[in-house]
Every structure is written in structure tokens, then in C-alpha cells.
Symmetry: C2
Subunit: 251 residues, 2 copies
Amino acid sequence: MPEYSGAGDPKHTLELLWGVRERPRRGPRPKLTVERLVTAAIAAADADGLNALSMRRIADDLGVSPMSIYTYVPGKAELIDVMVDRVLGELTPADGVPGGWRARLEHIARDNWALFHRHPWLLHVAIVRPPMGPNVLAKYEFELRAVDGIGLTDLEMDAVVALVIGFAESSARVSVNAAEAERRSGISDEAWWAATAPVLEKLIDGAAYPLGERVGTAAGQEYNAAVAPARAFEFGLGRILDGIEVLIASR
Amino acid sequence: MPEYSGAGDPKHTLELLWGVRERPRRGPRPKLTVERLVTAAIAAADADGLNALSMRRIADDLGVSPMSIYTYVPGKAELIDVMVDRVLGELTPADGVPGGWRARLEHIARDNWALFHRHPWLLHVAIVRPPMGPNVLAKYEFELRAVDGIGLTDLEMDAVVALVIGFAESSARVSVNAAEAERRSGISDEAWWAATAPVLEKLIDGAAYPLGERVGTAAGQEYNAAVAPARAFEFGLGRILDGIEVLIASR
DNA sequence: CCCCAACTCTGTACGCCATACGGTGTAATA
DNA sequence: TATTACACCGTATGGCGTACAGAGTTGGGG
């Protein structure tokens, strides 16, 4: 069960994202700021994953009581929205990248791939109704700039960008999930397979899956688990950009 | 926070997947079977999502106490493994599809897309260390068969299949997340945007995001939320298959 | 200058969750 | 018939988000 973005009151969330809350005129000085809250939450999520990100945990890290967090943020959903916009600010435009649209899209894909590895919890937030903060808007803008003026229609520009971003997310997910499974179980992929394979062999008919056995073992030997996702990313990115090139060339 | 496949004891999980538990020789007749349990769990997850899939809920549906479920299954993780293998059995081989490798890969992509929409919870299970049941193995086998004998190396066959499957998952995720957000919030995408847009306009500089505004509104008008994910799927699939065609043609 | 409104912070409590543990009753075997 | 293996269940533990009510603090209005 993922967390969902865009689950809170739109108006309140937007005010948080853009930091337009007016300072309170009366009452005690606040101990915290939304900024500090979000920073602590991101640090916790980076370190221990989205499962470990609880309001109690953040409060402990900040030395306040759990409920006082609700002074700054209406709920966990809105907090996550702000976290998402914040880390998306780490992405960089492809404007200066030499090599044309292909190099620019490659930059965007690699940049996203790296971001998902720096903040793996991002993959476990279902980003629908994206938090329309400054960084989300800037991201969309410079993504489109990467494919502007190369003969695509507006709709195609949007579709091409979505395809590349979606691919980066999808392949990063494989990689991140594998790393998280290893960390959480304490069992490496190799050890898991070593425990699984002999039991499996006793269960299946030897000749039932000829292709799967041949290709599976070939892939397993050539790419050990540590680099396999990275290779899949490189391969897929190449094919997708080739496909986009076909489209552009047809114009 | 997703659920994870492959989180249980490999040996026990495999025995469940292949149904090789020997019948108990003594003791009371079991009220349930693993089959019935899995069927009920899938029905609950289909109807109300993975969040609503609790051991208590399944037990209620089946008329037993929560703890008795642990007689059949070591824990929730293993139950989900069996659920996954079960529903993957709904996928069909592309063997008889006319039109060569391209049509076969299209069939596989569409078949997966449809499966994810029939069982949206599948997207919220992080499938690492896949449950090596009969259906998972069969799936991999017939996926490879779709690209066998067209001039690709074993490693390329594996990579091409992974690319297409990953794309289908990725684009289905967008679609499913949108539908789930709508259902869980009771607010349609249009209504959400109608609440968001005016607040947003007051916050941002009018000329700050020229491309985003132009392309975003164009995409929003052309594809309403209901069909946008399906269009993105068709567009992306076309580009990816084009890219694969470039590879195959280079042989 | 004082009082009160506005505000921050906190303790407690509720209803969820998975599941560990120990006990109870049943059915087939020795 | 006695034993043993087993299914089933009640209770309890420690987690979660957050509703609610109260306590304490500050600045502005009279």
C-alpha cells in the first residue's frame, strides 16, 4: 500500500508548497518550521525507507511530541507532498547539454534514475495529482524544453517526455526494490537464489521451461544482480531513444 | 509502503506455490484450503484494494477467526506470493498471434495492461524475487517464445521482454493510480484541477512556465483524464517497438 | 497595564494493523 | 482406549495516524 500524493485539501497543500503561510501574530514562538520538518522527514525516509517514516519518528528526531507536528502540517499526506516537491528540486535542466535532443533526453533519464536512487522512497509515493510546487512546475518546464523545436507537436512533446520519465522510474524501481529486499531481509539475491533453486528443481519437470532455463541462466551469469538493473536501464534507454528518433525522422 | 513479494521462507513459499503440502493425517478436518483462502484474498483485493486486504478482513469473509488463517499460510507475505502467481496465470501466450514478433510483443503488452487493470493491487506489490510458481515460470517462458528465433541473443531476448513488460506496468500504474485516487478521494480529476488551478494561478508568475502552460493545457484539453493513460500507452508502445525494430533490423 | 484572543504544544485515547503465544477440542493412529 | 498431531481461537503486544481537550505562552486592544 503506497502513500498517495495529492490526497489533501488542494488549497492548503498549495499554500504549504509555496510557503505563503502568514506568520502568526500571537501565541508562543513556534519551535519548528515547515522547512525543518520536511528536511527531517526526508532524512528519515532516505535513511530507513517510507515504512519507517511515521509521525512519531519525525517528532522524536526533532525533539517534539508527535501531535505538535500537526501544527505545521494538516496530516501526513500533505507532508509527503511537500517532501516530493522538495526533492524534485534536485533535478537539473538539460539546457546546456551538448548533443541535441537525444543527449538532452539521456540527461533527463539519468538524472531521474539517480534521484530515485538517492531517495528510494519516492518510488513508493503514488504521484497522482502531483504537488504543484515550484519544483514540480520547473521540472515539467525544462523537460519540455529538452524536446522543444525539433519538429514535434505539443502533444507529442508531452508524450515523449512522459515516456522517458516513466521508463526511468520503471527501471529505477527494479533496482531500488532489489536493494531494499536485500537490506530488509538480510539475504543477498545470490543467497536467496541458492536457497530457492534446488527446491525448485525438484518441483518442476526438467524440460518444461527450456527457453526460460537457458535464457534465465545466461542472464543470471552474465549480469550479476548488482549490475543487472543498470544494464537494463542502458539497454532500454537506447531502444526508447531509437524509437523516438524514428518518430522525429518521419517529420 | 508497498508489500513485498519473496519476503518469506523460500522453501515453505515454494511448497505453497506448487501445492505439495502433504495432507494432514490426524486432527480435525480443516475448514478451508489454501485455494479458497487465496481466492477470497484476491476477491477482497480486487474489490477494495491492497490497503483493505487485512488478515481480519479475509477471515471475516471466510467466517473464521483471524488467527486460523495462519494454519494455512505462514504469514501475509507468503499469501501475497501465492496471490501473485495465481493471477499471473490469467495471462495468455502470444504463440498463435499472427503478425510476427511485433504483434506478439503487442499482445503481451496489452495482456499485461489489462491484467493490471483487472487486479490493480498487483501494482502495489513490489515483485522482487518473484514467487517461482507454475504461472510465473510459464509466463517467462512464453514471453521469451515471442522473441525467439528473430536474430536476438539470449541476453537481448531477456532485455527486450523486460523492457516491454516494464513499460506495460509503468503505464498501467499511471492509469490505475488515477482511478484509485478518484475513488478514494471522491473527487474527480476535473474537480481536483478546478479547485487547484485558480489558487495556483495566483501563486505563480504568469510568464514563468510558458512551455508547461501551453503544452499542459493542450494535453489536458485533447485527452481528458479518462483516456489519457490509454493514449500514453499506445504512443509509448509504438515508440518502444520501433526502437526494438531498429535493433532487429541491425542484425 | 491588564486581559483576552490567538496560538503552540502535549497527553490521552480510539480504532486499525500483523502476529506471538498458549490453550482447547477433535480425529486418526498405535 | 490412550496418545498424538492437528485445527482453531482468545488474548495480548507493539505499531500506526490522528481526534480531542486541555495547558501554557504571547502580542495586541481596551
